[in-house]
Amino acid sequence: MATSILDLSAERMEAAAEADDLRLVEALRSGSERAYEELIARFQQPVYTLALRLLNDQSDASDVVQEVFLKVFRNIGNFRGQSSLKTWMYRITINEAHNARRWFFRHRRREVELDSSVEDSHHWKEIIPDGSRSPFDVAFDREQHVMIEAALERVNPIFREAVVLRDITDLSYEEIAEVLGVSLGTVKSRILRGREALREELAGSLKERPALRLVPKTAE
């Protein structure tokens, strides 16, 4: 009973999202300025996150995001609504990331990064102390992030994109199959291989957080 209610509400949400997509696409086609802003507001973060995880480079990811939005604005007339707006945009992102990677390998990046310091800098939220988390937690998280990023980069791009679409972009298996243009079985096996590869890369380093407690003490 409970599951059927959940299914029903999920279905209803899906239908609502679809109607919302169509409304946004129509507004874009009719040239509404607000629709452009809405599209950016809704998709800039997920598209950027996806591009960043596929390329692991902030400036490359930024370029890809711009290309994606340019393509979407220019080709919104060709969008037939056979897939959702979300999967359509992610498919464009995947293609653009492929192109960027191909370009990267061909040109083997010889130039010196001028704004590397900017790349390494963290967002102010990560810099300003957070009262609810101890400095140890913050340092531990950051270290773990760097480790996972490095491991992710070493995984075969084909498996990596499936894992990223599943665990970071939160797409369902069906949506991933649509974005990548492969069968459901292929999606399953790619996610499995990707996680397997990551597990091997991270073997031993992904430990449980040590039970270190800092007990405040008054000076004696």
Partner: protein
Amino acid sequence: MSCDNVQERISSFVDGRLPDAERENVLAHIASCRDCDAYLESIDSVRRAVGELKRRPIPAALTARLRVLASHEYARQATRISWSARLSDWSGRLSLAFNNAMRPLAFPFAGGIASALILFGLVIPTMTFEHALADQVFFTAPEGDVVALAPTGGYAPPESENPPFIERANASVPDAANVVDLTIDQNGRISDWIVTRGELTPDLANIIMFGQFSPATNMGVPTFGKVRAVQIRNVHTAPIHVRS
């Protein structure tokens, strides 16, 4: 279910993608197999660890660039959609291109037209048509003498020994003369003629053909009149045979 089979399904298991029957089997196996339990634990921690990477804020510069991009694309789309906007855009572009092309030519063009006007203005008055009348044109002087004009417009004295002259219609003339009575219309042209004595000489014929007179007036209004052209007969003067 073997460990290999279970481990192959672990990834789908953590995503909740296994059918109920298989799920039960996997759960049952894990409960009894420490290796597979550890494997499940590691795959799940990998999944959670990757999920941790979601929180990565978008760079402010990128947000700004996307906004610029959107406004450019919006403007581009706006000109594409509206016909009037597209038309005004094109006409603006065309007039700009035309102005840019013509501006360097404007001064030479105006100068060329002005110089052409001046040149033709100077040349045209000196251009005359060739008159195909006769070698000589006769006019009558107030005294009745016949004046001959050469084709150049200057005065040419009569070539014959006895130049013809004009008399009143009722003047007496010597017998040895060729006489033609002329009827002059109100415009001073000869409208009729008759040889009254002797014969028609070339000089008299010239007067008939080209003579121009001041017409007679009646109460100040030009009217018909008669005069007599006389040429003293000369033995050398060859007669013209006129069919009457």
